[in-house]
């Protein structure tokens, strides 16, 4: 451009103005998420940490190591809930990851298109079912089945929670693993076949290892989902008031159901203790997220090296 005429100047200024407005709109949108997370953290932590400070404070050690939750007698111990939540999550991962990964391999590598056309919508539907429906299903079917075989004679148990959580995390594991399997370059498969590998060898020695970061992030997201699930597990966990789970038949009281069951009527210290439970849950999720970020950034590096 040689000369900038007057009209063009005006047009340019208008354009700058528009750019600025949009810039602001984008920034504002982005800030909503950031501000929300800050507000939630501040609120939960300020409420949740209150009982452990000042006069008449509750021992944090008693809170974190306690094996009994009885607001009536001022017993607020959540250790048995942490153990319950962690066991339920580990159980769901131990079952859900292999099932999910094999499903993903089947969809991405083996199944004919016609079968994929049936399986994939089923998985998408599974992902869309509200968790209260999972809970109702768990209560109506899984709990009833367990009741028949359990030595305790009760169906609400760690096992019931693991079963339902396994089903609930499957869509996450399958969808993410499948897309990372599909992202494995065709050239790796060709190289493997070219060396005389069979299809199964190619899948397990080349394709799955090449997709491992994606599968790992799927697992971590699954952990987060299982840990944070509330409604479904509340309906089937049994929610005992104390004691460590001794076997898969034992009742558990996940951290999430502790909060949701009592928040509506709790007040004073009782309510603060529920927020304190939330703080612990939040820390778990935070750690899981940090692990996830670490994995995905590593994955980015591995790809850029190529």
């Amino acid at each position: 451009m040689k000369h900038v005429g007057k009209n063009e100047m005006v047009a340019k200024q208008q354009k700058d103005y528009k750019e600025k407005v949009f810039h602001f709109i984008f920034l504002f949108s982005a800030l909503i998420s950031v501000l929300s997370v800050i507000a939630i953290i501040a609120f939960v932590f300020s409420k949740g940490l209150k009982p452990f400070f000042g006069e008449n404070s509750y021992s944090f050690l008693d809170f974190i190591t306690g094996l009994k939750w009885d607001p009536g007698t001022e017993s607020y111990g959540i250790f048995y809930m942490i153990v319950g939540s962690v066991l339920a999550t580990l159980g769901a991962i131990a079952l859900g990851v292999p099932i999910g990964l094999l499903t993903a391999v089947f969809i991405a590598e083996i199944a004919p298109k016609k079968i994929v056309a049936i399986i994939r919508p089923a998985i998408e539907l599974l992902a869309g079912i509200p968790s209260v429906i999972y809970g109702a299903f768990g209560l109506g079917v899984i709990v009833q089945l367990i009741k028949k075989v359990s030595p305790t004679g009760q169906g609400e148990s760690l096992l019931a929670v693991i079963c339902v959580l396994t089903i609930m995390i499957l869509p996450t594991i399958i969808t993410l693993s499948e897309s990372s399997l599909r992202a494995v370059p065709k050239s790796y498969r060709e190289a493997s076949y070219g060396l005389g590998a069979s299809k199964i060898q190619t899948i397990f020695k080349t394709v799955v290892p090449a997709a491992r970061s994606g599968i790992l992030s799927a697992t971590v997201l699954g952990i987060g989902r299982a840990m944070g699930e509330t409604m479904a597990v509340m309906m089937i966990a049994g929610n005992n008031i104390g004691g460590l789970p001794k076997s898969i038949w034992s009742k558990i009281r996940p951290l999430t159901s502790n909060i949701s069951m009592e928040m509506s009527y709790a007040s004073g210290r009782h309510q603060d203790m529920l927020f304190a439970t939330g703080v612990v849950l939040f820390l778990f999720i935070l750690v899981i997220n940090m692990v996830l970020i670490k994995i995905t950034s590593k994955m980015g590096n591995a790809n850029s090296k190529k």
Binding site: R189, S192, G194, L195, G196, A197, K205, A210, A302
Partner: protein, 252 residues
């Protein structure tokens, strides 16, 4: 040079759906020689190369008629693809090492064929990398990712990986088209060296390359073999007008 037949190709036709990619190929490929396939893009030379180790089996909608024999055995009728591919190794156009260490890349083939003893694998890895003329450059970083070295080195690692399964034949699909001139020369020297022990068939876009390293050259055009003869003959006294036009750079 005596011509001992390794592959014999008879009336080979190949279709991708309705498109005929190879038309009536008849050809003998000889042991212990380098045979080059040249021709413009889309002429079928790579497709033909991939029929020799049945890589086309992996492509959907491929139909093949006619037959190819290796040492007299029909590779489509009387041999399974896995056995064939352990005897006929392949080096691809883009260096495609697995995202694993250099060692694991070379040991991949032996491992899938059931060799797990560390001392044996160590020996195979060292021998293969030496044969591929890359040992001295990578011997101190065998545990490093194969993706962390240069493209030329990656391609030689891929050649070592192919050598590790001790094939009889090595197919090379434009192995230097993604490499710089110095790496290209190294691969060419390597191919010339390897032909003592292996039968090599190479597809190339680069006519000088075919001239430099091959004993026999086949010129492909639109799915047909136009001319196939000793390389010297093809380059100096082409019989067909189309071959002459291509070699002198009048088209292609």
């Amino acid at each position: 040079m005596k011509n001992e037949t390794k592959f014999s190709v008879k009336d080979l036709n190949l279709y991708y759906g309705n498109f005929q990619a190879l038309k009536n190929i008849n050809m003998e490929l000889y042991k212990g020689q380098i045979t080059a396939f040249i021709g413009p893009s889309g002429c079928g030379k790579s497709t033909f190369l991939k029929t020799i180790n049945r890589m086309n089996d992996l492509v959907e909608g491929v139909k093949i008629s006619g037959n190819i024999t290796m040492d007299g055995v029909d590779i489509y009728q009387d041999m399974d693809a896995i056995t064939l591919r352990t005897r006929v190794g392949m080096v691809f156009q883009q260096p495609n090492p697995f995202p694993m260490s250099i060692y694991d890349n070379v040991a991949y083939g032996p491992r899938i064929h059931g060799i797990h003893k560390k001392s044996v694998l160590d020996e195979i890895v060292e021998k293969s990398l030496k044969q591929a003329a890359i040992w001295d450059e990578v011997k101190d970083k065998l545990k490093k990712s194969a993706l962390a070295v240069s493209g030329g080195q990656q391609q030689r690692i891929c050649i070592a990986r192919t050598l590790a399964i001790e094939p009889e034949v090595i197919l090379m699909d434009e192995p230097t088209s993604a490499l710089d001139p110095i790496s290209t020369l190294k691969i060419e020297d390597l191919a010339t060296e390897l032909k003592k022990d292996y039968t090599i068939i190479i597809v190339t876009h680069n006519m000088q390359q075919a001239g430099r390293i091959s004993d026999k050259t086949a010129f492909f055009l639109t799915g047909e073999v136009i001319e196939y003869d000793d390389t010297e003959q093809i380059f100096n006294f082409p019989k067909n007008k189309k071959t002459e036009d291509y070699i002198t750079g009048r088209f292609g």
